[in-house]
């Protein structure tokens, strides 16, 4: 029986990175996964949750649970942060013993971040991609510390043909996005982003790869602001690269 996966596209990737989502579908299908798209999905509620608006976040979480409970398939997302939200915060948002709590726990158990799904569920590291460039990797905070995924994305990158993975100084330091943090304290966010951009430019890489739309928007914007030619790419964009084109 083929493996099935529901796409959890996340609001940020939907609004800003549709090409990543298209490539995600292509990649999963190439790996033999039967892809489903629950159309009722919106956002995981993290902006409200992280701002302290627990009851508003709960309303959005309820909608998310409804959207993804219609299928038995695994839930796969191109964002470590959103998966961390579903896996670690959803169950605690509903009192134990309630049907919502049970559903949240059940869905949390089959929600995976993209690199995690490839490496651990599909047991794939070489997807046959070709990307003849020097690349560096930024470890997104919630992917790394929330989900504990330190090596998976780098394993996938290392298996890409002709890709040279170069180290990034302070790879595991936050880029300064932090969701609402970036608009509540823009100057602090700026200082953190600028430090990240300096390190990326010093790495000598032509592209920086991350696994979260939030970090990518922040880093890409920062690179553009200083007129850098370094591209900020989602892991999926690199894994989808075939032949000489990039």
């Amino acid at each position: 029986m083929p493996i099935k996966a529901q796409l959890f596209i996340t609001c940020l990737a939907e609004q800003f990175y549709p090409q990543v989502l298209v490539q995600m579908v292509d990649l999963l299908e190439r790996l033999g996964v039967n892809v489903e798209f629950p159309p009722e999905q919106t956002c995981c509620g993290q902006p409200m949750f992280n701002s302290g608006f627990q009851s508003e976040a709960r309303g959005i979480a309820t909608q998310w649970l409804r959207a993804f409970s219609r299928s038995e398939a695994a839930i796969v997302s191109p964002s470590g942060s959103c998966v961390d939200m579903v896996r670690h915060h959803y169950p605690a948002m509903f009192p134990e013993g309630t049907p919502e709590h049970e559903l949240a726990r059940e869905l949390a158990g089959r929600t995976f971040e993209f690199s995690e799904f490839l490496v651990h569920s599909l047991k794939v590291t070489d997807v046959g991609a070709y990307f003849p460039h020097k690349v560096t990797y930024h470890a997104s905070c919630h992917l790394l510390r929330g989900l504990g995924l330190r090596e998976e994305a780098k394993q996938l990158l290392s298996a890409v043909h002709d890709l040279e993975l170069v180290p990034l100084a302070d790879e595991e330091t936050c880029c300064g996005f932090g969701g609402m943090f970036s608009v509540i304290y823009p100057e602090v966010s700026r200082a953190m982003m600028e430090a990240k951009v300096r390190n990326i430019m010093a790495s000598g890489a032509g592209a920086v790869v991350a696994c979260d739309a939030g970090c990518l928007m922040n880093i890409a914007g920062g690179l553009r602001k200083v007129g850098s030619q370094v591209r900020a790419l989602h892991l999926i964009e690199v894994l989808a690269a075939q032949g000489g084109a990039s």
């Binding site: 919106t42 509620g45 508003e56 905070c141 970036s182 608009v183 304290y185 200082a191 928007m217």
Partner: protein, 483 residues
């Protein structure tokens, strides 16, 4: 606006946001250099300790157990200190603690006091209170000596003057001490030492805090690197220690676990240069130490924090400062942004609970929730979890406090929920945004947006809205259905 000058006083409002818009440019550079050095030595010490994670778990258990049984351990402290010949005082609030210390000093005709670096006395603003009472208090830790000269407070838990470069210290010494001071750390330390030597010998009172308080024997534990701690607690005839009630550890076995973690986490040392154990005053003539020893146990809101099962883990803190060293927010703004004696991630969860969310409502939001602090905390304080808990307290209120956030935010959050929990409305927005943005779009980016989104675009452009995935998926399904 000038948070630096008032850092030792109890603040009525902490403007993290205001401060963050004009951080003096020299601060982040100095802070980053010092904290990076601590982190790299810490990493080396942690790597050589095979049972590090085991120690952290044990420390977490010890600290939580102590907090949950604090009443009986505190009584044990009182019994043991009294038995050793010391005097124990209980201070509910900062003002009460200040009064107790001043009364003791006045009874002994104290004119000058020498101080060991102590966060508890910074918390209660003791120096200023002593000065008002006509008693000159001299800080003797080099860092504290520097910031006292500068007229400011500590910007880091263990390195009070971390924000200053040696050149700035030299200028300060020239101005305030009237001596020729080169920008050479050794020479600067020698100047401070010469100034302090006389103060040690003439002061009538030594004031300290404590890193730990061992209930088993009533022993005060002071960890330091400069030797000033021993001078302050042995030379004057009177020693007054102001200690937060959260500093108690049950016994010497527990202390051993915590001492194994403290210096390694703080400075990357296996053990600090001096670890002093003080049990009461001297027992007989000829023995070193003061004739009188007073212990002031400071609550100042801690017993209230203990009522909160989530928030109380804050009180497990052993003040190593490691969460500051690893925090990209702290490293960008420095300690004064946090507006009180305690800064960084631990300050962001401590101050709102002690001062209340009305005064410190900005602090729980002063974090990107990156989680680096929780990863290094030697006693495993779940700092991001507590930040979220306090954010909820600020916007929604809880059984401990009423909300402190403006109502307009609540309205915004409700509208956000409406848009995000109503699929058709969300889909409509997704289709409209790419159309609405057209006049502002340049080359696939939005370089400038109207308020409140200008708070994003003043820092970097926003990628253009491109919500077309659903159309792509719909078309593809249509084609598939036809085949």
């Amino acid at each position: 606006m000038n948070q630096e000058a008032h850092i030792s006083e109890t603040p009525t409002y902490i403007g993290f946001g205001d401060y963050s818009t004009h951080v003096p440019g020299n601060i982040p550079t100095a802070v980053q250099q010092a904290t990076d050095r601590f982190l790299s030595t810490r990493a080396a010490r942690v790597a050589e300790k095979a049972n590090w994670e085991e120690l952290r778990r044990a420390a977490h258990e010890i600290r939580l157990h102590t907090l949950l049984h604090l009443d009986s351990y505190l009584e044990q402290v009182e019994r043991q200190v009294t038995k050793a010949g010391g005097h124990v005082h209980w201070a509910r609030e900062a003002a009460e603690a200040r009064t107790i210390v001043i009364d003791i000093a006045k009874r002994h005709n104290v004119k000058t006091a020498v101080k060991v670096k102590s966060m508890a006395t910074e918390e209660i603003g003791l120096n200023h209170a002593l000065e008002t009472a006509g008693i000159q208090a001299y800080e003797t830790d080099l860092g504290e000596f520097i910031i006292q000269l500068a007229g400011s407070g500590p910007s880091h838990i263990i390195v009070p003057a971390v924000h200053m470069k040696k050149e700035e210290v030299a200028t300060l010494f020239r101005e305030k001490l009237g001596v020729e001071a080169p920008a050479d750390p050794l020479r600067l330390a020698a100047i401070a030492r010469a100034t302090l030597r006389e103060r040690f010998l003439t002061a009538e009172m030594g004031v300290s805090g404590a890193n730990f308080l061992v209930a088993e024997t009533g022993t005060l534990v002071i960890v330091s690197n400069e030797g000033n701690g021993r001078m302050c607690t042995t030379l004057p005839n009177l020693h007054v220690a102001v200690v937060g009630i959260d500093k108690v550890v049950p016994d010497w076995d527990s202390l051993t676990v915590l001492l194994n973690l403290l210096a390694r986490s703080a400075t990357g040392q296996k053990l600090s240069a001096y670890t002093s154990f003080i049990t009461g005053p001297r027992r007989e003539e000829g023995e070193n130490g003061p004739q009188e020893f007073h212990l002031v146990l400071l609550d100042n809101g801690r017993s209230r924090v203990l009522q909160d099962p989530v928030g109380r883990e804050t009180l497990k803190c052993i003040r190593c400062g490691c969460c500051l060293n690893v925090c990209p927010v702290y490293k960008s703004v420095g300690g004064y942004a946090y507006g009180w004696f305690i800064s960084g991630p631990i300050g962001a969860i401590f101050s709102p609970q002690i001062l209340g969310v009305e005064a410190a409502r900005e602090l729980p939001f002063a974090s990107s929730l990156c989680g680096a602090c929780a990863d290094v905390c030697p006693v495993k304080i779940p700092i991001p979890h507590i930040l979220l808990h306090l954010r909820r307290r600020v916007v929604e209120g809880d059984q401990f406090e009423s909300p402190a956030a403006p109502a307009v935010l609540r309205t915004g959050a409700r509208l956000g929920r409406l848009a995000l929990a109503t699929p058709w409305l969300y889909r409509l927005g997704t289709r409209l945004l790419p159309l609405l943005q057209v006049p502002l779009k340049r080359d696939g980016w939005l370089p400038a947006l109207p308020p409140p989104l200008n708070r994003w675009t003043k820092v970097r452009p926003l990628p253009a809205f491109a919500g077309r995935f659903r159309q792509w998926w719909g078309k593809r399904q249509g084609i598939r259905d036809r085949v």
